[in-house]
Symmetry: C2
DNA sequence: CTGTATCCCCACGGATACTG
DNA sequence: CAGTATCCGTGGGGATACAG
């Protein structure tokens, strides 16, 4: 009895983890509709803004810029402006970004394996 | 030369894949803020509505019901109403759901490994 | 306890125009 | 080509009340 009593407090008044689990934490970084896709296409190597725009089909100009900024701020993507004219800007994954992308791969495979099934779902949704 | 010419068309006027890649397809199923978390907590076995509500901390009543319906419709989650009073309803992963959850695991691990880093990000965002 | 139905706000996100 | 700024609609999603 009296097991686990009196847990040592941290210095900073014990800030409880803001996440309910690891997955939750991850989603704070790659949550949303576009971020995973952006990372996915950067996995093959650095891309210019335009290339990225064309790769992530359907994304709007505004969204791409915005999401890239977030990803850069979070240390997942790096941005290098070559200071040329016309502008030439490359986006690439940081080491952290690569590791995250790695964790994303199973989701890609899963999607590949079930594309048919999922496509069928979408049609059924409208009905 | 003339490689890959004259690709055989499908019967149904060749409906081009609605997805830009496997990952995109996956996101049509577990996209959004809550679905991944719901699946994650169901991975340990079936849960009642209330248990799920408490597990996925922060989710609203409306959202949980709504997302569960979608997951059920998409064949990822199964719902069993025991027809009792008071009501007793269990939610569980289907085989498809389990495979998807499996693909989600690396994201959990990634989050676990970088919790500190991510927590730091969040604070920096406000600044 | 589980689920349905409303009200309602805000921010997500698209379209467009403009700058360097 | 890359990026910023603005306008503006839609719907995501919370709070609440109610039913079985």
């Amino acid at each position: 009895m009296h097991l686990l009593v009196s847990i040592k407090m941290n210095e900073k008044t014990l800030a409880p983890s803001p996440f309910i689990c690891g997955l939750d934490a991850t989603l704070h970084v790659v949550g949303g509709k576009w971020k995973p896709l952006i990372l996915h296409f950067l996995a093959g190597g650095s891309l210019r803004y335009g290339e990225l725009k064309r790769s992530v089909r359907g994304i709007s100009h505004k969204m791409l810029i915005q999401q890239l900024k977030m990803l850069e701020r979070d240390g997942v993507v790096s941005r290098t402006d070559h200071g040329e004219i016309p502008p030439r800007v490359d986006y690439a994954l940081t080491p952290l970004g690569h590791s995250l992308c790695e964790a994303l791969r199973p989701l890609c495979s899963w999607g590949d394996q079930h594309t048919e099934t999922i496509a069928a779902m979408l049609e059924q949704r409208e009905a």
